[in-house]
Amino acid sequence: MKPAAPLLVLLPALVLLPVLLALPAQVHGGGWELIGTFLKAAIQPSLDPLVLRSLLEGLGVTVGMALLGWACSVVIGIGLGIASSRLVWRSLSGSVLPAEVLRRLLALPRSIHELIWGLLLLQLVGLQPAVAVLAIAIPYGALVARVVSDLLDALPDQNLNALLLSGTAAPAALLTALGPPLLPGLISYGGYRLECALRSATLLGVFGLGGLGNELLLTLQSLEFRELWSGLWLLLAVMLGLEALIRRLRQRWGMPSRFGLGAGSSGQRGRELVVALLALLPVLLLVAQALQVDPMALLQWQPLPAMDGQHWGTALALPWLPLVWNTLLLTLLAAALAVGGAPLLLLWVAPWSWGRRLLQLLWALGRLWPPPLTALLLLFVLKPGVLTAALALGFHNLGILGRLLLEGAEVTGSAVEEALRCGGVGARIALLYGRYSGLARSYLAYGAYRSDVILRETVVVGLVAGTGLGSQLNESLSSFAWDQIALLLLVYAVLTIVGEDLSDRARRRLL
């Protein structure tokens, strides 16, 4: 028996029960003073001109890198997304096998975190600004490819079939029947990837270029909270500005919400869109020039580090089972907290007019603070462990999912909710049945994508002891143990493929 749709969206929040039960045992509470210092620093950030200048320069580098990495990833993603669509292959050759194979292969680049891609590429081509761009473009390209192929496969195929049956050549039929309905979802998702790219470029602390991420990480590690806040405020301004811009563009071009996998109209402003894209091209070239990103440098390969085959035994003897178990536990906990937490919190504050504003602020902080920062803050009051790491990752992703949910709720319109309210139904129930019921399935499908990302992000909360594969990967990287690194990345890839398979099945049942 399927549970009713409005409740479906709250199911992941059940994880809160065990979490709240386990939490009191984790509290040590010795660092409230430090949390106080951190919060006090928020209202008195450092205004030292030297700090500000270097932060502003770093911000420029980070935004530039994000833009370039995003542009490359969208191009790669659309190409590979079309190439891994079942619908496209079925129309072209009658077999969906190539699409299935490519889809599974794409899990490999996607399962590796940007930070690790950066380090791997550094081995191959040396310290080049282009490395940072590619480190974002590869995993993001693979992720965009997955979403594009899912969007394609979810489109209604009557038009395509009609064209094919009437004798139109397959490529032309595909373009005509699928191009326009794909566009809105693609643009909406593309805009969202730009926001993600900014967050990634921040975390990446671009190699050999400094960048805001570098500054944030080092100020965090040296606990210079006032200087840290100068950077965080700057980043917040840019982040909110970018989000507002993308939101306006999406509304202007009549795009549906991000996780609306259904078809929409192709938008009234197609011409404007083309013009905007053309205008982007020279901007990208100028940014590339300013940052000295040189694609040709990617072709000058360096000799790879020496790898002797003597240590495979040690690598195989790593405690794989607990590593994988901890990683899965961490990923699932964090995903459930983020996916379930967003609608639950919105319901909770529904009766109060200021509640939503407050939540939006909290979520903005979640998106703004890189997970290592949240992990450190949590450690000031909680003992290390999987739960603490999950809370850190969960908080970050809650910020992202919460915003998406609000946006989705806006698009679905308020008619049903208002009708319920007028009928005397309470604010919470009206929100639950009026808005969430229509949104539940696509929101959960989106949550499944996000779990993919959370799995990769387990790499960045290593300062919490024993968090599984992520901690081990950091350790192997610092020992330059390439055999261990290879095995670890393989395990990440397998987990991603299995997770994707499960979420594919879940989505097919949900949607």
């Binding site: 402003r269 404007e272 070239l285 100028l286 360096q302 450690l379």
Partner: protein, 320 residues
């Protein structure tokens, strides 16, 4: 309107079209410079004077790193007559890897990262260390509520079994390598800590803050950072105390690429070493550098000084 031919733009669209037209007009200006071979930094470096690229493992706050290595770059440039550029890197592994791929010429490494870098880049030269680096120390610290008692003998460390323990960064010599070695000597294995694994706080400052708060019962930090934390009040003696100080071991040092003489002229490596060794507190600029390094002066160092670090690294599994 979409079916009107010829195309008619609305007001907003006209504005956008103008913007696009302008930027397309700019395209040829931007593109050739971006795509021409002159744009290659490598080609630039070959055509004009070669640049000495210096870097350091990132173990300080960025403001201090930028200030310090900006000064070092200026001073070296003045003394050697070549352009010097500071290239910041984000983590220890990136510093070692970028040295291996030849993108950094002179790097301030820690003990372990220096050995890793030399093993990955045969022929790399150890140039100098600070006066304090010949015998560097790690301080084991503990939260006062943890019940761990300080002492003068290494046996103190056996109390750490079953406690929550954190190292600093994974690649840190004073925050990880040597403390793990001394723990092993005392019979404490990393999997005997509470939770089955130690934490890696990422930095000495974070270790002190996390032990002081009680997140971890104990940790290991660099003596230099511990002293300055006590001095500026970041470490609160009523909450965190030193429980044991390790014997001395060699740590930080300058390492140079093997090919500097070919690129900058015969004898350049020796000139570089002499320049670093010549810094004295009597010169105001050099005094500023030495102060930021926390040293009186630099002394000559050689690869054999770090044999012990290499042995310990192999024992712990950080060097293979």
């Amino acid at each position: 309107m979409a079916f009107n031919l010829p195309i008619q733009f609305s007001g907003r669209e006209r504005w956008a079209a103008v913007a696009a037209g302008l930027s397309l007009a700019l395209l040829p200006v931007a593109a050739p410079t971006a795509l021409s071979p002159n744009f290659l930094p490598a080609a630039q470096a070959q055509s004009s004077k070669p640049v000495l690229r210096i870097s350091a493992i990132p173990d300080q706050k960025p403001e201090k790193l930028n200030r310090l290595y900006g000064l070092v770059a200026d001073e070296l440039s003045k003394q050697l007559g070549v352009p010097v550029k500071y290239v910041p890197v984000t983590n220890y592994e990136a510093a070692v890897s970028a040295f291996r791929t030849g993108n950094l010429d002179l790097v301030w490494f820690g003990g372990l990262t220096g050995v890793q870098a030399r093993l990955q880049k045969p022929g790399a030269k150890v140039l100098a260390q600070r006066d304090i680096d010949a015998s560097f120390h790690t301080i084991f610290i503990a939260n006062t509520r943890s019940g761990i008692a300080p002492g003068n003998s290494q046996k103190v460390l056996t109390q750490l079994k079953g406690k929550r323990f954190t190292f600093g960064s994974q690649s840190s010599t004073s925050g990880r390598l040597m403390p793990e070695y001394f723990l092993a000597q005392a019979g404490v294995k990393p999997n005997q800590f509470a939770g089955g694994a130690p934490g890696f706080s990422g930095s000495h400052d974070a270790t002190i803050a996390l032990v002081q708060s009680g997140a971890y019962d104990a940790g290991a930090v660099n003596e230099q950072v511990w002293r300055s934390s006590l001095h500026d009040g970041k470490a609160n003696r009523s909450k965190v105390v030193a429980i044991w100080k390790t014997p001395g071991y060699p740590d930080y040092h300058w390492i140079a690429q093997p090919n500097l003489d070919q690129r900058f002229g015969a004898g350049f490596t020796t000139k570089l070493q002499k320049a670093i060794l010549s810094w004295r507190p009597s010169n105001p600029e050099q005094k500023a550098i030495l102060n930021l390094f926390g040293a009186q002066q630099f002394t000559g160092a050689k690869a054999s000084d770090y044999v012990r670090i290499e042995q310990v690294g192999r024992q712990i599994g950080k060097i293979r």
